[in-house]
Amino acid sequence: MITVLIVDDQALVRDGFRMILDEQHDITVVGEAADGQQAIEQAQMLEPDIIVMDIRMPTMNGLDAIRHLMARRGARWRILVLTTFDLDEYVYDAMKAGASGFLLKDVPRRQLIEAVRTVAEGDALLAPAITCRLVERFVQSPPPTTGIPDQLHHLTERELDVLRLVARGLSNAEIADRLTLGQNTIKTHLGHVLDKLAARDRTQAVVAAYETGLVQPGQG
C-alpha cells in the first residue's frame, strides 16, 4: 500500500486528489496539509511514502518545505510537485531541492495515479520531455567544457552514455534501443550512475548532467 500525503492550499484540490487516489486499491491518502508548515508536521507524524505538494502556497511555500523535508535524515518519502505552470522556475528549484518530479494540476487522473506509483518505485522519470525542457530552461550550467566534467570522472564510458541520454529525456526503453543494449542492462547502468552521483533518482541525475555541463541545453 502506497501512503500519500496531499499538500495544497485549496481545499477542493486536496479533496479532488484524495477522491481519485483513495479510489485506487494500492494507494491510501493518509493525510492532508494546507501549507508548507503543516506539510512538515504531517509528514513527520505520518511518514508517508509519497508527498504530493503544490509549489506555491501561502505561509511556508512548497520550496522551503521541500528543502526541509528532503534534508531530514533517513527520509524515505519522495516528493511529487504540483504546478499550474510547467515552465515555472520554482519547479526547477524544487527539483534541485530534491523533488522527484512534477505534474500539472489539471493532469488526467490516470497520469496522477501512474505518477504516484512510478515515483513510489523510484523508477522512471515522469514526463521526461517536459522535465528536460524545464531543466534546460532554468539550469545555470557552466560553460561548455571539452571532455568530461570533473565531477563525472568516476563514471565509465557506458555510464556517461546512459546519463547523457537520460538527460535528453529518453526512457529506459528508448535508451536501450539507442545503445542497442537490453533494458535491464540500462537499468543496471543507471543504478550505478545514481549511486556514483549520490543522486536520489533519475530526476536528480538529469539535474546533475546539466549542472556539471555534461549536457548543454538546446542540444536535444
Partner: protein, 391 residues
C-alpha cells in the same frame, strides 16, 4: 517673437537661391550709381571700377556655405584696390563687406570667424594706411563698429537658430519619451490585467478540472461523492465568472462607481451625472439617435469611459460644466465628453493612467478613442462598433 527672430523666420521662408543672389544683384546695381566712383579720380577706368564691383559683390553668392573664403575674396579685392588705385572704397563694396561679415557670423565656424576678423582688420588697416592724409581715429573706429557689429549680429542670429533647433529636438525627444512612457504604462497595465485574469482562471478552472476528474473516478462506487464534486464545480465555475467580470469591470479602485458586483449600463448615466453634480461639476447629458440596448460589455465600457472622463474633469480642470453626448448610430456607438475647463488647464498627459486603462478597454471592444485639449476644454471621444444585434 522679437525683431531678430521675426527677421530670421522671414529669411528662412524665402527660397535660398534668392537670399543668396539678391544682395549680389542689388549691390551690383548700387555700384553702378555709386557716387564714390563718380567723384573719384578720372584715372579710374570704368572697366576697373566694374571689375572691382564684381569682385566685391559676386563672391557673396557663396557666403552661406563658404563664408570664410568669401570674406577673404572680398577683402582681398578691397586691399588690391586700395594698394593699386586708392583708398576710396565704394559704398557698395562697404556694404558687401558688411554682408560678408554678417554671413561669417551666421554661417561660419570658429576658424572662419577668426579669418573674417583678420581679413576685415587687414582691409581696414590697408585702406587707412594708403590714405594720403594721416589716419584719424575714425577710420579705424567706424569700420570696427560696422563690420564687427555685422558679425556679432550674425552670431547672435546663429545662436538663436541653434537654440531654436535644440528646443525643437528636445521637444521631439520629450514627446517620444512621453509616448514611450505611455506605452510602458499601458503594457504594464495589460500585464497586470493579464496576470490577474490568469490567476483567476488558473485558480478556479484548476479546481474544476480536479473535481471533475474525481467525480468521474468515483461515479459508480461513490455516486454521492461524485454529486458533491459536481456541485462544487457549479459553485466554483460561477465564482470564477464573477471574479472575471469583477476584474473586467472594476480595474481601479474608484469611489464614484456603483457597488462593484452590479455592472452599470448607459441607463445609469443619469445617476452618474447627478453624483458628479453633487461634487460641484454640472453635467449635461444628451442622447442622440435611437437608443437601443447594446451588449453589456459595450455599455459597461461606455459607462466607464464617461465615468473616467468626468472624474478627470472634476480633478483637473477648472471646469464648471461637462457635456456628455451619447450618439447611437446604425452600427456604432459614439460617446463624447467635453468640458469648458479651457485647453490650457493644468492636465496631466492625455495618456494618464486612467485614460490608458480606457484605451485598453475601448480597444478590447474594437473601438477607437481620442482624448485631447482644445481651446475650449478637454475632449474625450470614443467610437465603439456595435455588433449589430442587441445583447
Amino acid at each position: 517673437m522679437s525683431l531678430v527672430g521675426r527677421l530670421g523666420a522671414a529669411l528662412r521662408r524665402v527660397d535660398h537661391v534668392w537670399v543668396d543672389w539678391l544682395p549680389v544683384a542689388g549691390l551690383l546695381a548700387l555700384s553702378q550709381v555709386d557716387p564714390n566712383l563718380a567723384a573719384s579720380d578720372a584715372e579710374v577706368p570704368p572697366l576697373a571700377g566694374g571689375l572691382f564691383a564684381v569682385a566685391t559683390t559676386l563672391p557673396l553668392g557663396w557666403r552661406r556655405h563658404h563664408p570664410g573664403s568669401v570674406i577673404i575674396a572680398i577683402t582681398a579685392a578691397v586691399v588690391v584696390w586700395a594698394l593699386l588705385v586708392g583708398p576710396l572704397i565704394t559704398f557698395s563694396s562697404f556694404l558687401a563687406v558688411m554682408v560678408a561679415m554678417f554671413a561669417v557670423g551666421v554661417h561660419g565656424d570658429r576658424r572662419e570667424v577668426v579669418t573674417g576678423i583678420t581679413a576685415a582688420a587687414l582691409a581696414v588697416t590697408v585702406v587707412a594706411l594708403t590714405d594720403d592724409q594721416p589716419a584719424s581715429a575714425f577710420e579705424w573706429v567706424f569700420p570696427t563698429i560696422y563690420f564687427g557689429g555685422a558679425m556679432l549680429l550674425g552670431r547672435a542670429m546663429r545662436r538663436r537658430e541653434q537654440r531654436t533647433q535644440m528646443l525643437a529636438r528636445l521637444n521631439a525627444e520629450l514627446a517620444r519619451e512621453r509616448d514611450r512612457n505611455a506605452e510602458l504604462a499601458a503594457a504594464q497595465e495589460r500585464t497586470r490585467i493579464a496576470r490577474e485574469m490568469h490567476d483567476v482562471i488558473a485558480h478556479g478552472v484548476g479546481v474544476i478540472v480536479v473535481q471533475a476528474e474525481a467525480a468521474e473516478e468515483v461515479l459508480t462506487t461513490r455516486p454521492d461523492r461524485a454529486r458533491g464534486a459536481l456541485r462544487e464545480i457549479q459553485t466554483v465555475g460561477r465564482q470564477t465568472l464573477t471574479e472575471l467580470r469583477h476584474l473586467l469591470g472594476v480595474l481601479r479602485h474608484d469611489s464614484t462607481g456603483p457597488p462593484a458586483d452590479v455592472q452599470p449600463t448607459l441607463a445609469e448615466l443619469d445617476r452618474l451625472a447627478d453624483r458628479m453634480a453633487a461634487t460641484g461639476l454640472r453635467v449635461e447629458l444628451r442622447t442622440e439617435g435611437r437608443p437601443r440596448p447594446l451588449p453589456a460589455p459595450l455599455e459597461l465600457t461606455a459607462y466607464r469611459l464617461v465615468q473616467e472622463a468626468l472624474t478627470n474633469t472634476h480633478k483637473h480642470a477648472q471646469a464648471t460644466v461637462a457635456r456628455v453626448v451619447v450618439r447611437y448610430h446604425a452600427d456604432q456607438l459614439e460617446v463624447e465628453v467635453t468640458d469648458d475647463g479651457g485647453g490650457t488647464s493644468v492636465r496631466p498627459s492625455t495618456r494618464g493612467r486612467g485614460l490608458i486603462g480606457m484605451h485598453e478597454r475601448v480597444h478590447a471592444c474594437a473601438g477607437s478613442l481620442e482624448a485631447g485639449g482644445t481651446e475650449a476644454g478637454f475632449v474625450v471621444r470614443a467610437v465603439l462598433p456595435t455588433a449589430g444585434a442587441p445583447s
